[in-house]
Symmetry: C2
Subunit: 219 residues, 2 copies
């Protein structure tokens, strides 16, 4: 199984038993979400900005306005990292210390490049929209040139990564299992609720199949 | 209404119309979650680590093992920021450009201090656990001294903060409302699923009322 090489940057020190370096598992974490936390340094402070993304192979694609100073800053400095985290459960133990959460968290390091040709930009914006809702882009009004012109697309090539996963039950102290306290896991899921049609449109339009499908998958 | 002063650090440049500086709204965002993204700088890279937290007034409390290098690093450098983000909906527009998400995102800057006296540490660990599940700490096996000794509690006093909120429908180009495309919002919620009792315990224990209450609230 293909793994990221452990370096100073991606090696996990705390909880090394939960560390994952294999690309397939990390890609699964990335594909299960569409909002990433993108880090940058401003005035000496590390700041984390939630952004939509798509993954293709070992590339992550971000987009924003051409006036987006954060994207400009990380393109210039090359200093960023990306975290994608899914909360999967509350772990209720018999002692405070062994309380925990189940989660999947991937942290990526890489190289940044702006994508400037219109054809590639359009294809990548399609990927970002389709990563949010499958098969969606082709059902939309095609993009105007001026819209494309004011949109920046950034390619992040993953060069190093690691993940941390907790996906198990309660781990209490051996002697605590005798105690008469309830313990267990409460699963957490991010779910969709019933789509609300835009009231700005006078006609009644049935919800398209691909959106209904997406809703059914995550409701 | 009390507001954070706008400075170079917390002033939002992109989407200033969605910027929020009032403390009450920011506190509501903080109180609606219990996992924050805590930033630190490692080897020149901004890295974002998901961590549990609690809020009391203008303080955020974090905890970890005394061996936690990330907490040690931010205590030493004073350079961190905290982001708490809730995804509230997918905004499906008639054009790709106007696709968006509804969300609440708060970013905090502040001063860090380690809390070292046992009495305060214990009280704050109670706050962190009770922030995850209300009224929970007092139902647990009391903490052993050696557990307290290997736990670090860090106090982050918020000195500057801002939030960005999108909580509305579709904003399409005026001429696009005539197009026969479905548009609307699909709400997103983080929900709990049925608690799974720990199978490591031989006795059958009813789920306590406060945990059932927490589950009912978020199921």
């Amino acid at each position: 199984m293909a793994e990221f090489v452990k370096t100073k940057l991606n090696r996990l020190k705390r909880g090394a038993n939960r560390a994952v370096y294999d690309k397939e598992t990390i890609n699964e974490i990335l594909d299960a979400g569409f909002i990433a936390q993108v880090g940058y340094i401003y005035d000496g402070y590390p700041i984390s900005i939630p952004m939509a993304y798509a993954r293709k192979g070992d590339k992550i694609y971000l987009h924003g306005s051409t006036a987006n100073r954060m994207l400009r800053a990380i393109l210039e400095s090359g200093k960023t990292s990306i975290n994608v985290m899914h909360l999967d459960g509350l772990v209720i133990a018999r002692s405070g210390l062994h309380h925990s959460v189940n989660y999947r968290s991937a942290t990526l390091f890489g190289e940044l490049k702006e994508i400037t040709d219109d054809h590639s930009k359009t294809a990548l914006l399609k990927d970002i929209v389709d990563h949010m809702i499958e098969d969606h882009w082709d059902t939309l009004r095609p993009m105007h040139q001026k819209e494309l012109d004011r949109t920046m697309v950034v390619e992040f090539t993953i060069t190093s990564a690691s993940a941390k996963i907790r996906a198990e039950g309660v781990n209490d102290e051996p002697e605590d299992y005798e105690l008469p306290y309830w313990a267990g896991v409460i699963p957490v899921k991010q779910k969709l609720e019933k789509p609300i049609p835009d009231d700005g449109y006078p006609l009644t339009i049935d919800i398209p199949k691909h959106i209904q499908h997406h809703y059914n998958k995550f409701k």
